[in-house]
């Protein structure tokens, strides 16, 4: 790892990290603040739902939806936080090395007496530190908003911690997949469409599965691997699916190093 590259990268991302973190904190606050007004309605609904057979609820994906408990409602809100986290991580992944080629600074950077592996490691670590800050902000704001709005209800801290722990792997997935795609294509002109397509594509894919019945396709999306409803309900991860995420992360990171080390960099002149 090279300190200078790390510092430069980290400072460059800092403003965006702060914006995303603030946006996520506000998002969680707004969503969870709605809890008290919905909880009463939801209790009535739950009473009715308890009379229905298990299979029916399973068929409509309502088996792990419970708006009357604070964690049930939080897991619903957390899905939208996940969408934001995914876009942020994918954005950093796509722009990590492609920005040098776009802004014609790649040959300057690569002429430095630093190996490409080192450059990539420093850049990945810088992006990860940024994501870690966002992660910590989400942790803090989750606990704060739940304390603020839970009223006299109790909740299972263990399940909440498990849910929040999943953020890191979730971010790493989008960071590494974004990075490897940006190295697979010849040139990334504009990062936003790529990041949006990756993050929203995965999100829509997982929602399709929830609403219209499962099929094998959904198993590729991390929104399914780290389904907040499942984690809260079972207070554990869906391990086979989580391992798909881990395998994808390892493959994309290894692939990124291999591709970056032998990448042909176009010179500006």
């Amino acid at each position: 790892m090279n300190k200078n590259i790390y510092k430069l990268e980290f400072n460059m991302n800092l403003q965006s990290v702060i914006t995303w973190s603030a946006a996520l904190a506000v998002l969680l606050f707004i969503f969870v603040s709605l809890f008290s007004s919905i909880a009463t309605d939801a209790e009535l609904l739950n009473e009715m739902m308890s009379e229905f057979p298990e299979e029916l609820l399973l068929a409509f994906g309502m088996d792990n939806m419970d708006f009357s408990s604070i964690l049930g409602f939080f897991s619903f809100s957390f899905l939208f936080a996940q969408v934001c986290l995914a876009i942020q991580a994918a954005y950093y992944g796509f722009s990590l090395v492609s920005i040098e080629e776009r802004e014609l600074t790649a040959d300057f950077l690569l002429a430095k007496p630093v190996g490409r592996t080192q450059i990539l490691t420093s850049k990945i670590l810088a992006a990860l530190s940024g994501l870690l800050i966002t992660n910590v902000v989400v942790w803090i704001s989750s606990f704060v908003v739940i304390q603020l709005f839970k009223g006299d209800r109790t909740y299972d801290t263990g399940a909440l911690i498990l849910l929040l722990l999943s953020i890191f792997v979730f971010q790493l997935f989008f960071l590494s997949v974004g990075l490897v795609i940006s190295l697979l294509v010849k040139r990334v002109r504009n990062v936003t469409p790529y990041a949006m397509a990756l993050a929203f594509g995965m999100y829509v894919l997982s929602v399709f599965g929830d609403m219209l019945g499962e099929s094998i396709f959904e198993n590729i999306t991390p929104f399914k691997h780290f389904d907040p409803g499942y984690i809260i309900e079972h207070a554990s991860y869906n391990l086979p699916l989580v391992s798909i995420s881990l395998v994808v992360i390892v493959l994309s990171l290894v692939g990124s190093y291999l591709l970056y080390n032998r990448r042909n960099i176009p010179a500006p002149v």
């Binding site: 946006a23 998002l27 707004i30 969503f31 709605l34 007004s37 919905i38 309605d41 009535l44 609904l45 009715m48 739902m49 229905f52 029916l56 068929a59 409509f60 309502m62 939208f80 969408v83 934001c84 876009i87 776009r102 002109r189 504009n190 990062v191 936003t192 469409p193 949006m196 397509a197 929203f200 594509g201 829509v204 894919l205 929602v207 399709f208 609403m211 219209l212 019945g213 099929s215 396709f217």
Partner: protein
């Protein structure tokens, strides 16, 4: 005219990629319909459920055993994908000149800045129409095996018109941002923030009746597939709001870009 053709060609690949993504989603979505089609058990289950529950999950609008109802559930997501692409094309088509350092060249051509915007906006519009036609065509082909009735075709045309208006809204907002933002990098990020914000708002507004006023702020709520299916017409209020947003953004785009200091 030259700019128009140049932009069409430059954006063609992006259109193909978005087209492939929506075709994938249409095929995955419709393929799931086979589990629901004419399945009386599903219908019986739906009948048994209390009204409040169906209301809460916005499912009372749709009968999932008919292809129209099934398509109605997917409508929101097609609209989301189409809006994302429109916002991206709109914000990128103006600001990319500054990013690619070609803005000096294109603005020294013997045409006014307004004509540059017109040509670019039209090119982006053609792209949006192309994507819409791809969604339409893919839907038609993949539902053909279920031999839908004429009601479905009416509903499909109506929902495509609704998606088109949403595309126009986000395209116009994107173009406005591309023209008005001093820093070209901001245009894409602000467009993204607007998309996310309005999408989340559309979800919050469905949660509780006290929050219904939020639907005026979110284009994703302007055209409700359930209402489209049942009443087969648009709500004139929302059509007016949409037209207002589109006109204001385009006027703003022309005004700001013609007096803008360029980033070189």
């Amino acid at each position: 005219m030259n700019i128009f053709i140049r932009e069409l060609r430059a954006n063609f690949r992006s259109l193909l990629i978005w087209g492939a993504i929506v075709i994938l989603f249409v095929t995955i979505g419709i393929s799931k319909f086979s589990a629901y089609e004419g399945n009386p058990e599903m219908l019986a289950i739906l009948d048994q459920m209390p009204q409040a529950m169906l209301e809460a999950f916005n499912m009372n609008a749709f009968n999932l055993t008919t292809i129209s109802g099934f398509f109605g559930v997917m409508f929101t997501y097609f609209a989301l994908l189409a809006s994302i692409s429109a916002a991206m094309w709109g914000s990128d088509i103006i600001s990319k000149e500054e990013r690619n350092k070609t803005v000096e060249f294109s603005l020294t051509l013997p045409i006014t800045r307004s004509r540059v915007i017109t040509a670019k906006a039209l090119a982006a519009l053609v792209n949006c129409i192309g994507l819409l036609l791809i969604i339409w065509g893919a839907s038609l082909i993949s539902v053909a095996q279920y031999s839908p009735d004429s009601e479905f075709y009416n509903f499909l045309s109506l929902s495509m018109l609704a998606i088109f208006i949403m595309q126009l809204i986000f395209l116009a907002i994107g173009i406005f941002l591309g023209c008005a933002m001093k820093q070209y990098r901001r245009a894409g990020s602000v467009a993204l923030a607007l998309l996310l914000g309005t999408y989340f708002m559309s979800i919050i507004s469905g949660l509780h009746e006290n929050l219904e006023f939020l639907k005026y702020l979110s284009p994703f709520k302007y055209f409700d597939a359930g209402v489209l299916l049942r009443e087969a017409k648009f709500d004139p209020t929302f059509v007016a709001i949409s037209a207002g947003i589109i006109i204001l953004s385009m006027v703003g785009a022309y005004l700001t870009y013609s007096r803008r200091d360029l980033y070189i």
